[in-house]
Every structure is written in structure tokens, then in C-alpha cells.
Assembly symmetry: C2
Homo-oligomer: 431 residues x 2
């Protein structure tokens, strides 16, 4: 049974510190293995991919046709989907597209008071690679959330890598690839696939940015290749913080907490409420609901190990400060007026406003990205967006007059910094 903490208990600060600092990410010994795999892929290319795929996925990459899943196959998977599922994917795609289109940054190009032309141009990267896990965690929603922002950014070449253990692929994922307009799907996975995307092989041309979820090997490969390519923020176990007053239906809040817990035993669900009786009701509802879930084992393990319930005296006065310490991936605010909470919570991946906004609508169809910073990284990082697939080039242009106005100061600073060629490049033009 998950203990119900109170902000009034004398050791609350200490207990809460422990919750904030707890690391649910495993310090695994994968770094060395990943470094080996990446080096091998860099040196041996496709032959290395073929070897690893045989070993890890039991799948043979021999003929040309073994390597790629064709666009025709994706289209076929799309047409074979149950109509309600196809409609749901299309609705999700359309709403994700609309939200991300509004993210497109504006270029700047202006002349300032000194007569200096200044500006910045945002452009997409040439090619993006998306990692799509095989097996249980192969989620079509995840493909949409990664691929559509890349497409909206204007990326010309969109490449998916995905392991197909014993040749099996997930038709929903293929259908999602069709909807998103993925250009290539390679049947390789693991660190070796990430290495191939970064370094390129004879078959697979390199990409500029790699995003998408994966296991510890995939995450470590991305981390090690950061700088060779751009990557999305390294993701850890998922988490939800639900801030709820006692006027909620405890069954709804229990389901919201479980929707995070069912992802993984390392997931974390936290409830903050101002009503101890409500917390006990939620706990009861969790115990009941959990028995009905096909994901019961995972949800139970997560809730027992990492579930937290905190009762505060004044919800608005106390919950935002606790939320800012936790900097959670998802924050639900299940109260009548969530507005002051939205203002006061500075650190969160995504915020779900009001009683009718369970996290699951955001995971699938609302439009904002579900790839969000975990493990308190919302303090400094953001959810996936079109910006992850773009980069900005600044530019400036001076004429004789504006050069006369600001050039001399540049020469002064260059001399002071001991960089005479910098100074000379300015002074020659002053004369």
C-alpha cells in the first residue's frame, strides 16, 4: 500500500527531497558495448548491420529486398487497418500536424538604427532518422509524434529504422509511416541502426538528426553520437503528477495515475491533493481497476515501487512549488479553475488543464507532442517540436556608413583580446 504523505508531517521536506532525487534510471553497463557496436558499424558498414541483425533479431539481411520495407507495403497496411483505427490515426495525424505547423519559427531580416542589416533564417535539416522500437513498445502514435514534426519542418528525407525480430513488423506502425509520409524504412534496430544513421553505410545514407524512443542501447548510442548528429533529449522513465481536489471522481484520477504506471515498472505516478479522504478513495479505486488491466503486473509494480500520494493543506498555495521541484513530464490539474496553477508551475513537460483532460488525450490526439522531457529535465528542456528538425543561420551585412559606425569598436576589442588579424581585417576597411 502506497503511504499517504502529508506536507504537515515533520519529516516531509526530507521525504520529498528523497522523491525528487530518486533516480529510476538504471546505471547500466551498456556504454562500452554501445561504443564497440558503433565503432564496428563505422568500420564495416552494412556487413556489421547484417551480423548484428542476425544475432539480435534473428533476421537475415541478405538480398536487397530484405533490407527495406517498401512504401507499397506501408500503404497496404494502411488500407488493411480497421476503419475506426484508421480514422483515429488520421485524426491524430491531422491534429498533430496542425499544432506543429503553428510552431514554425519566423525568419528575421531587418536594418537597425546603425544601418546594419541583421537577421536569421530557419531551415530544416536535410535528413532525419527516426528510431521505432520493435516488439511491445512499437507504437504508431510514437511514429506520428516523431515523423510529423520533421515533415512540417520541411525535412526532405525521412528515414525510419526499426528492428523486425524474426522478420515481424507491426502493421499499425507501417500504416502510421504511410500517413506521415516516411521515405525509407530499414529493418535494422538497436545501437547498430543508430550508428548507421549517423555515420551512413553503403546502403543507408547518413542523416543529420536522430530522434525516437528506444531501449538503453539505443538511448546510449544517441548519447554517444550527440555532436556527430543532432538528437532529441535522452529520455528516461515516464512520469505523471496529478494535482486534484476532492471534488474529482476518484475512479477517473485512479485511471489517470494507472495510465502512466502501466507503461513500465520504472514509471512514476504522483498524486497531490488537499483531501486525505479522496486520496484513500483513489487508492481503493487503483486497487480495484488494476485487477482488470491486461497491464496489471507492470502497473502494480510501478505503483508499489514509485507511486506517491501527498496531502497538502492548501492546494494552490502548496502544489505548484512541489510540482516545480518535481519538474514532471506530465502534470494534470484536475480542479475547477486550473489557470492560477498554469501560471505558477514553471517546470513541466506538458500541462493538462481541468477535469476533462486526462493525459491519454495528449498522448494520442490533442496535437501537442507526447515526446516530453523526463527525469526532472523539464527544468531545462522542452518537448519535441519542429525546432528539433531545423537550425538557424544568422546573417549580417554592413555598408561603408554602418561599418564606420561600429567597426572601430570591433578593432578596439580585437586588440584588447590579443587578436591582431581580427583588428587588421577591420582597420584595412576603415582606411
Amino acid at each position: 500500500m502506497t503511504p499517504i504523505l502529508s506536507t504537515l508531517q515533520p519529516d516531509f521536506a526530507k521525504v520529498f527531497d528523497r522523491i525528487v532525487d530518486a533516480r529510476r534510471e538504471s546505471d547500466s553497463e551498456v556504454a562500452g558495448q554501445v561504443a564497440d557496436i558503433l565503432q564496428t558499424v563505422k568500420l564495416r558498414g552494412d556487413a556489421a548491420l547484417s551480423d548484428y541483425t542476425q544475432r539480435f533479431d534473428g533476421y537475415t539481411l541478405a538480398d536487397d529486398g530484405d533490407w527495406l520495407i517498401t512504401r507499397e507495403r506501408c500503404e497496404q497496411a494502411y488500407h488493411e487497418l480497421a476503419p475506426d483505427l484508421r480514422d483515429a490515426l488520421e485524426l491524430a495525424a491531422a491534429r498533430i500536424r496542425a499544432y506543429h505547423e503553428a510552431q514554425l519559427p519566423e525568419n528575421r531580416d531587418y536594418v537597425d538604427a546603425a544601418g546594419v542589416r541583421l537577421g536569421a533564417i530557419w531551415r530544416p535539416v536535410d535528413a532525419a532518422g527516426l528510431y521505432v522500437p520493435g516488439g511491445r513498445a512499437a507504437y504508431p502514435s510514437s511514429l506520428l509524434m516523431n515523423a510529423i514534426p520533421a515533415r512540417v519542418a520541411g525535412v526532405e528525407r525521412l528515414v525510419v529504422v526499426t528492428p523486425t525480430p524474426k522478420g515481424q513488423s507491426n502493421p499499425m506502425v507501417l500504416a502510421a509511416a504511410h500517413i506521415a509520409g516516411v521515405d525509407e524504412i530499414w529493418r535494422v534496430g538497436g545501437a547498430q541502426a543508430v550508428g548507421a544513421l549517423a555515420y551512413g553505410t553503403k546502403r543507408i545514407r547518413p542523416v543529420d538528426v536522430i530522434t525516437g524512443p528506444g531501449n538503453a542501447w539505443v538511448a546510449e548510442a544517441k548519447r554517444q553520437l550527440y555532436g556527430v548528429v543532432g538528437i532529441d533529449m535522452v529520455a528516461g522513465p515516464s512520469e505523471i503528477l496529478v494535482i486534484a481536489d476532492g471534488k474529482n471522481d476518484p475512479d477517473w484520477i485512479a485511471a489517470d495515475l494507472l495510465s502512466q504506471a502501466e507503461h513500465d515498472p520504472t514509471s512514476q505516478s504522483i498524486l497531490i491533493t488537499d483531501d486525505a479522504g479522496f486520496a484513500r478513495q483513489v487508492e481503493d479505486c487503483i486497487d480495484l481497476q488494476i485487477t482488470q488491466l491486461s497491464t496489471a503486473k507492470t502497473a502494480r509494480a510501478s505503483w508499489d515501487a514509485h507511486g506517491v500520494m501527498i496531502v497538502v493543506n492548501d492546494l494552490l498555495a502548496e502544489a505548484p512549488a512541489l510540482a516545480n521541484r518535481l519538474a514532471a513530464e506530465h502534470v494534470e490539474i484536475a480542479v475547477d479553475d486550473p489557470e492560477p496553477y498554469l501560471k505558477a508551475i514553471r517546470h513541466a513537460g506538458s500541462i493538462f488543464l481541468g477535469r476533462m483532460t486526462p493525459e491519454a488525450v495528449g498522448d494520442y490526439v490533442a496535437g501537442p507532442n507526447h515526446v516530453l522531457p523526463t527525469g526532472r529535465r523539464a527544468r531545462f528542456s522542452s518537448g519535441l517540436s519542429v525546432l528539433d528538425f531545423m537550425k538557424r543561420t544568422s546573417f549580417l551585412g554592413l555598408d561603408a556608413a554602418s561599418f564606420a559606425a561600429i567597426g572601430p569598436a570591433a578593432a578596439t576589442l580585437a586588440h584588447a583580446e590579443g587578436l591582431p588579424a581580427h583588428a587588421k581585417s577591420v582597420e584595412l576597411r576603415i582606411k
Copy 2:
């Protein structure tokens, strides 16, 4: 003597590939040492800082006063600056501030056609740490370029770490810290200082983002701490590409190329021109100018090892494609009409338009940031900006009507992905 390549020579493609792929960054063995230092700082905190600072900087951190450079000391350094230097720093700061203020992103908050409230809020991180090298590479301009965007972003606590070998600090850097409004300056450097900023110690509270240049140890420490904190892109050796027709003064272009070469022996300067005679003149001017530089030894080493001159047949038809392959940090376009080049060059850190825009004005006073992606990273990353000190929280809010419109699709997808608690959190609210 630097050979003059021609795009007409039969092996040009191969030679250019080698230039593009050449790695000027050393594969140093610092990773293990840095990992040790970071672990030690994490465990032993200030005591570890004290030990390392004694060992590496010959400076004793004993009394409270030994640790911090006070704001009063910075203010004093500011007042003691030569007036022309102070004015130049103030001009630079004002222009950097103005350019970065225009970068501030807009929040979004709207209700879409389905009645779903959607939006995103940009907020600054709570605290930013800036690494400022000691010794030769202690540049006040670099402090301004890192600190001002953080301040403009709204960061409340701005912390500098800088080594003070044998107690020596650079008064210009302190004056720049005064201008930028830095809150704390700690006299620690190296990987240990980066570790202290990320993990926090008893004296130094942790920060959320760490930026700023440093040696191989500092860069590796930032790389290893990526994810614990946000960092700016890992920087490699600097580079300039100058695209110039034969109508330029060869002395000006020679100075521009040398202004990059004088930074470091690993820096790279590349000239692309359509006039072979002009290229030879530039080479002669370089040979002459270099003898007059106090930085001659560095500039000579860089130009001899990494300098490149390429003669093309048609400048506008050929140079942008070569520039896109190089994806250089700085690109100067010294022609009468740089506009078509600006359109065609997709990958560059910053572009300097026209004959009167030497890179040095951008390094100091133009306004755009001089912290730019190196080593072909302009393919996927951008110069430092206010966004590096901010993060975005998405939000969404549904009411009964909008929930009825899109909720069922979320439940359909949740079931299809095998996540029943996700589905239940939606279905309970539909009933």
C-alpha cells in the same frame, strides 16, 4: 605554400571529400579522466574543488573570500578600463542585447476548431552557468555572448566559473561580467567546475544549463553531463569560408582568412574564388601580413596545415554547393550582390554579407551570437540564442464537448497499442 585547387581538376571531388571529412578535433584520452573528476566532485563537493584547484591552478581555496570574485571587484575593474575599451564593450553589449531581445519566442494560447484549448509557454531556466576560460583564451566578448542571451531570456541566477591560475584573473572579463550583470563568479575551472555547476556543492548551488567555451576537459565534462543539465553544442575548432570574386582587395580577404587562422593551429580558413590570379594575390598578402602578427606562429601553423583555396569556374553556380558540403561556422560572401548566395547556402553558422562585413565585426559588435556550430554541425545545429536558456511547456484543456469530439479516437488508439488504463481514463469520462 597552400595549393590552389580547381573544381576543373579531375580529382577535385575526391580532394574536396577529404577536406569535408577531415577531422581536426583530437581524439584525446580525456574521457576517463573527466569521468573520474566528475565522480569525485559529486561525492566530495567543495573539498574536491579545493584539491583540484590547488593542483591544476596553483591556487588555494581556503577562506570564504578565496572562492568568489565579488561584484564590487567586477565593478571596480569596469571603472578602471580604458575609456575606449569600456565604450567598445558597452556598444557590443547593447547591440548583442538588442539582437537577442528580438529572439524572444512568443507564447501560444488558442482554442481550435474542435474546441480544444492548446498552447505553449516559454520560460527561462532558473539558473545558468557560464564557463569562462582563464589565461590566453579569456575573452570578454565571449562572456558577453554567453551571459547576455541568458539575461535576456530572463534567467534569474547567472553563475560564472573561471580558473584563476595562481590567483590571476582577467580584468576585462570581470568588467564584462559587471556589464552583463553576472550574479556569482567562482574561482574554479576545468571539468571540476563544470561538475560543480551540474551537481551542486555546499557552496555552489546547481544550475540548469551550462554554456561557454573551454578546453578538451571542459568540453568533455559538458558532453558527459548532457542530460543532467542542458548544454550548448560541443564546439570544435573554428572555421571560416570566404567566398570572394576577383574584385576584392586581396589584402582585406587575406586579413579575413588570417583572423580565423590566428585563433588556433586547428582553425581552418578556406577561400573560394572564381579568379585564380586573385587567389595567388591573397596568398601573397597572407605571407606578408602574417609576419606582422603577434599571433604569427599560430596563424602560420593553421594556414599551412588547414588553409584551402579553391578556384571555381562560376562562383554563384558552384560556391553555394561547396559551402553546403562544408557547413562552415562562418561564411563571408564578398561580392557585389550577396543575396542569391544567402538564399542558396543552406548550411552555415553565420553569413557575412558583402565586402564591408568581415567576420570580426560579427565576433564583437554586430549583435548576433559568435558562439556558432563548428565541424559541419551547422547541418543540424544553431548558434547560441535565448532559446538555449529557455524551455517550452505545452498545455491543453478540453471541456465536455471537445472531449466528446476527440476522446473516442484516443481510446481506440490506446486499445490498439495495448494500453488499457490509457483507454479507461478516457472511457470513464465519456460515460
